[in-house]
């Protein structure tokens, strides 16, 4: 469908410029998108429909996009970077790859979204947020006569041996957030003791962050440690998944958005930025089963989505645990002390 309209508009453009000999340069912009694919596509279509501005979109993970911004710093090709966990956005702000912008939409946003902006000198802003947790397959839990877990500490109990799955913190941002959360929750020493205990129960460290809950959904594993919205998504898809907000409290991520510095289409970029913060745009997430908590207070949320207000959130230190030194230190420690242990 999109192709057809593109061809049609292409033909139109040629015809018009041929008859009027006036260069009809259509407004356009380039979006770097770090959320899931269908969500990105939906945002592009929604924005094009709302404003008529042509968007060319590249979907890459937040790490990749950060690297790309760095590589293109002298010749930026992108205009807006939308989605993806907050750490690399903060890092980009720190390195001056993104531009400060104070949107008129701010008053509609939750506090945590604005806090994200203030901490980065207005160079980024929160667009959604998701809390860490885990989910379990109710059928398998019953089949194995296991008690229902409710806390982080439940996961290190010996009866769950071979039933827990999480991603490898080296390859997954989700798993790193887990590691950082545990360290902040229990303190570093006790936190690592917890990770060692958890290690004994893990049946597989997956590469991708959301894989553990998908395995649980299909009945290939019992418990998966993931962001809660990912678990909700499986439950909504019809899988026997129950979502758990750990009783001790938990960490979270703030999905962010930034405007690329010296971008080629700053006007379009700002239009997108404002639009993306609107309730209308954030409600689109429901169409693609993205159950993150939107930053606009007015946007609709799914009844299945985890309610951030009812979850005990820790005061996650994004500045510290987002810094690359701390990250490397923790990962190395995990590699050396935890991952090598026999299971």
């Amino acid at each position: 469908m999109r192709k057809r309209t593109l061809i049609a508009t292409g033909v139109m453009a040629v015809l018009m410029s041929a008859t009027t000999t006036v260069a009809m340069a259509k407004d356009k912009m380039t979006l770097y998108c770090s959320a899931q694919d269908d969500w990105c596509q939906l945002m592009v279509n929604g924005f094009e429909e709302a404003t008529g501005i042509d968007v060319s979109m590249t979907r890459k993970s937040s790490g990749e996009t950060f690297a790309q911004l760095k590589a293109e710093a002298s010749n930026p090709k992108g205009d807006v970077w939308w989605g993806g966990t907050g750490d690399p956005h903060l890092q980009a702000a720190e390195e001056g790859l993104t531009e400060p912008y104070v949107s008129g939409m701010r008053e509609q946003l939750n506090d945590w979204a604005i806090a994200q902006a203030t901490s980065a000198g207005d160079k980024t802003i929160g667009i959604y947020s998701g809390a860490l947790g885990y989910g379990y397959n109710t059928d398998l839990l019953a089949a194995n006569n296991l008690p229902e877990p409710a806390c982080w500490q439940d996961l290190v109990k010996p009866e769950y041996k071979g039933h827990v799955q999480m991603a490898n913190p080296n390859s997954s941002g989700t798993a790193y957030t887990t590691l950082a959360t545990i360290v902040q929750l229990f303190g570093e020493d006790e936190g690592f003791e917890f990770m060692k205990g958890l290690h004994k129960n893990i049946n597989q460290y997956t590469k991708s962050g959301s894989a553990p809950i998908k395995a649980a959904a299909r009945g290939e594993s019992t418990i998966g440690i993931v962001f809660m919205h990912d678990a909700v998504k499986q439950a909504v898809a019809g899988f026997p998944i129950k979502v758990v907000a750990p009783c001790e409290g938990t960490g979270y991520e703030i999905g962010s958005m930034s405007i690329v510095k010296d971008s080629r289409n700053p006007e379009s970029a700002k239009k997108f930025y404002d639009w993306a913060l609107s309730a209308e745009a954030q409600t689109l997430a429901l169409q693609v089963n993205a159950f993150q908590v939107p930053s606009n207070k007015g946007s609709e949320t799914s009844p299945s989505a985890p309610d951030l207000a009812s979850i005990k959130l820790i005061d996650y230190d994004f500045a510290k645990y987002g810094s690359s030194d701390e990250r490397k230190r923790l990962l190395k420690k995990w590699d050396d002390d935890v991952s090598v242990l026999p299971q």
Binding site: M1, S17, M24, Q41, N75, N170, N203, S208, G219, Q234
Partner: protein, 738 residues
């Protein structure tokens, strides 16, 4: 009358290439257009003065990008060659010197000046900061480079290389140029990337620390406890898969050629299926059967009261999936070999009082050895490069290809790490490639002499036949079950949870509606589906053409350095797709060649991945064409291009079709290289399906795969019909018989 022939041809060709060079310099935009090669918006958007779209001449005239100015020298100089006789020594000298200079200048400015000015500190130190930068080359540069290349080959031809044959020299030059750019350059780039530190300097220490990492080479699994290195995992897996697929392939080849087995056609069809199946689909089906909640697991657990386990995740699962997927490749290699063993040799052995078993052991089997080695090598490389099955079934069993992928796309985003891993992978496959050539190089196994062989293959000895039957039937049943699973899985609501039959997945993927007089493609899969068909459709003819041209050069021409030329063209065969993907990202993400995110890079990667098959098909059928056909055409006054087009090509239809089918199918099912190179705009079916799998959307993934299988079956069937027809024509058309 014929003596002026070559002069009459050479002048227009010369003028054509000079013209192309001038067009590149004066008319076409020098730098790549952001909106892609096929967008012509630039024509109305400030061309020719806007510096984004300006031709080199306009840039220089406006005082920008002054380093392009010297390019005018060679294109002015070559004008002096016009009107000169071809055997005038000045003609060759002018062409060679000026086009070589032009080419070299183009090359050095392209690599010397990049996005951030000087690319090398030494240049900066020498000339001071540049204060300017440049982007990827576009139409103008492409035209000029092509012009210089072919002017150079004309000069070289005029000096008497290859009997002064312009077409052959140009073809060699062209093939060398594209192979250098799209095979050797990316690999070289990848090698250097392995040495880059975080602050963009080079260091051996970085490489060695990554290379000697325990995660790569650790052996603690042997002593119990820890995990073994990724490299060992990959190597062990690939050797096992290579060996098992070779044995199974041989089994099938024997059943088909040397037994009274009645359902050979069914067996053949079964072996074609996995080739046109996207590789990881088999992995999915295996999970659905043997996973913790798989049908068979649950069934066995219920019946025998065994606690189900996750045994399938890891080495066993990956190995089963790969063996299922790659056995057909071994079969296709081996059936030719098994059929090719001359029956009269076996009959000779029988008349010398050898029993059937002794004949098989002492004559038939040794003669099949090159085929076995080939099949093993293919299985080995495919397993090394396979990405989908380890992704789905790997569990904690890490292999190189997935590690490479996650080094690039994961949170760690470490291109250097990916490069190091890719180098290890490449070293393994090249090592196997070399070992095979070394082993076979010393012996001759030619048994097909071209003379008629009236003998009949003996049937298998019974002590071989019984196990062979058992294996073949078991495997066939297994394959059937797997495919039934796949089809069934595409029609149920939610596999394992809700087994209601539904067309939902097909509708989601491929729905369309009628609106405003035309079809509206509303399904989610159409975008990637059309892109895939388009990319496969474009790359298949290019692959076939390049492969056959190379085969022509290799079989029909003699030139210095032919053996290294041959090695170069065959090399990409031993390069796993994963490595191609990584190296393309490293090489074509930055000027002078910015191709990532375009459809072109997908086409190129398919062309160079699949070209060796085109070359092989071409060599095989060209060596059946008597060389005197070309020679007689030459003595009749046709030049070598006319000979190639009028005589060789028409006689190569079967090879052309084989190459077309293969590259089309491969382009539809390939994952390993594609996964790195797709973009939102150019998404391929396989990467879309992997995305669905990652999203736990098995129904859609399987529905899409099933559709692809059907589409390819239809396409392959249509092409095979076409091949069949020409083959009948060809029987009478091989060398004229007396």
């Amino acid at each position: 009358m014929r003596t002026v022939h070559s002069e009459a041809v050479s002048q227009p060709v010369l003028i054509f290439w000079i013209f192309i060079g001038w067009v590149g310099f004066l008319v076409l935009p020098w730098y790549a257009i952001e909106d892609g090669l096929f967008s012509f918006e630039w024509l109305f958007d400030g061309y020719p003065f806007d510096s984004d779209y300006a031709p080199a001449a306009f840039l220089v005239a406006q005082g920008e990008k002054l380093w392009l100015a010297p390019l005018i020298l060679p294109i002015v100089a070559v004008l002096a060659a016009i009107g000169r006789a071809k055997n005038d020594p000045l003609y060759a000298k002018i062409l060679i010197v000026s086009s070589a200079f032009g080419f070299a200048w183009l090359f050095f400015q392209g690599f010397g000046i990049g996005l951030r000015g000087w690319q090398f500190d030494s240049l900066e130190a020498l000339f001071g900061p540049l204060g300017d930068r440049q982007f990827g080359m576009g139409y103008g540069a492409l035209f000029m480079a092509t012009s210089f290349l072919f002017l150079l080959t004309q000069g070289v031809a005029a000096r008497g290389a290859i009997n002064g044959d312009v077409f052959v020299v140009s073809a060699i030059g062209g093939v060398i140029a594209v192979i250098s750019i799209f095979v050797f350059f990316p690999i070289a780039k990848m090698l250097t990337a392995a040495f880059i530190t975080e602050d963009q300097t080079y260091s051996i220490a970085v490489f060695s620390s990554k290379f000697l990492d325990d995660r790569l080479w650790g052996v603690s699994c042997l002593s119990g406890g820890g995990k073994c290195g990724v490299a060992w995992n990959s190597l062990f897996l690939a050797v096992s898969v290579g060996a098992i697929t070779t044995v199974l392939g041989l089994v099938f080849a024997l059943v088909v050629t040397r037994s009274g087995f009645k359902h050979k056609r069914v067996l053949r069809a079964l072996t074609v299926l996995p080739i046109i199946t996207p590789p990881f689909v088999i992995g999915l089906a295996i999970i659905l059967l043997f996973g913790l909640s798989g049908s068979i697991t649950t069934f066995v657990a219920d019946v025998f009261g065994i606690q189900p386990t996750r045994w399938i995740y890891g080495l066993p699962g990956v190995m089963i999936a790969q063996v299922l997927a790659f056995t057909p490749i071994a079969f296709l290699v081996l059936i030719g070999v098994v059929e090719g063993v001359s029956p009269s040799m076996e009959e000779a052995a029988q008349t010398l009082r050898a029993s059937k078993w002794q004949v098989f052991r002492t004559v038939s089997f040794p003669l099949m050895r090159p085929g076995l080695a080939n099949a093993f090598l293919l299985g080995f490389i495919e397993s090394m490069a396979d990405f989908g099955n380890p992704l789905v079934l790997g569990g904690n069993f890490d292999v190189l290809s997935t590690e490479i992928f996650f080094a690039i796309v994961g949170a760690q985003y470490d291109q250097g790490q990916a490069a190091v891993l890719a180098i290890v992978l490449l070293a393994f496959t090249l090592g196997a490639f070399y070992a095979q050539r070394f082993w076979l190089g010393k012996k001759s196994y030619t048994t097909v002499s071209g003379k008629g062989d009236a003998g009949v293959h003996p049937s298998m000895p019974s002590r071989l036949a019984i196990p062979v039957y058992i294996v073949a039937i078991a495997w066939s049943l297994f394959t059937v079950v797997i495919y039934v699973m796949i089809v069934f899985g595409s029609f149920v609501e939610l596999w394992g949870v809700n087994n209601t039959l539904t067309f939902k997945h097909y509708i989601t993927a491929f729905s369309f509606s009628w609106g405003e007089g035309d079809i509206r493609w509303t399904g989610a899969a159409w975008n990637s589906f059309w892109t895939t068909i388009q990319i496969a459709g474009i790359s298949a003819p290019i692959t076939a053409a390049l492969g056959l041209l190379t085969a022509y050069l290799l079989t029909r021409q003699n030139f210095a350095g032919k053996s290294s030329f041959e090695f170069g063209t065959m090399l990409s065969f031993a390069i796993p797709g994963t490595v191609i993907g990584v190296s393309y990202i490293l090489a074509f993400n930055v000027p002078p060649l910015e191709l990532t995110g375009t459809g072109i890079i997908l086409v190129i990667s398919f062309v160079f991945r699949n070209m060796p098959v085109g070359v092989r098909a071409g060599i095989a059928s060209m060596s059946q064409l008597d060389k005197s056909l070309d020679e007689s055409s030459l003595t009749l006054g046709a030049n070598s291009w006319q000979t190639f087009r009028r005589v060789i090509l028409p006689l190569l239809k079967p090879a052309i079709l084989a190459a077309l089918v293969y590259s089309f199918v491969r382009a539809m099912t390939a994952v390993s290289a594609v996964i790195f190179l797709v973009s939102a705009e150019y998404d391929m079916a396989t990467s879309y399906i992997i995305g669905r799998v990652e999203n736990n959307d098995y129904g859609l993934a399987i529905a899409y795969s099933t559709t692809l299988i059907v589409v390819m079956l239809v396409a392959v069937g249509a092409m095979q019909l076409a091949v069949g027809r020409t083959a009948i024509g060809r029987r009478t058309s091989i060398k004229p018989e007396s």
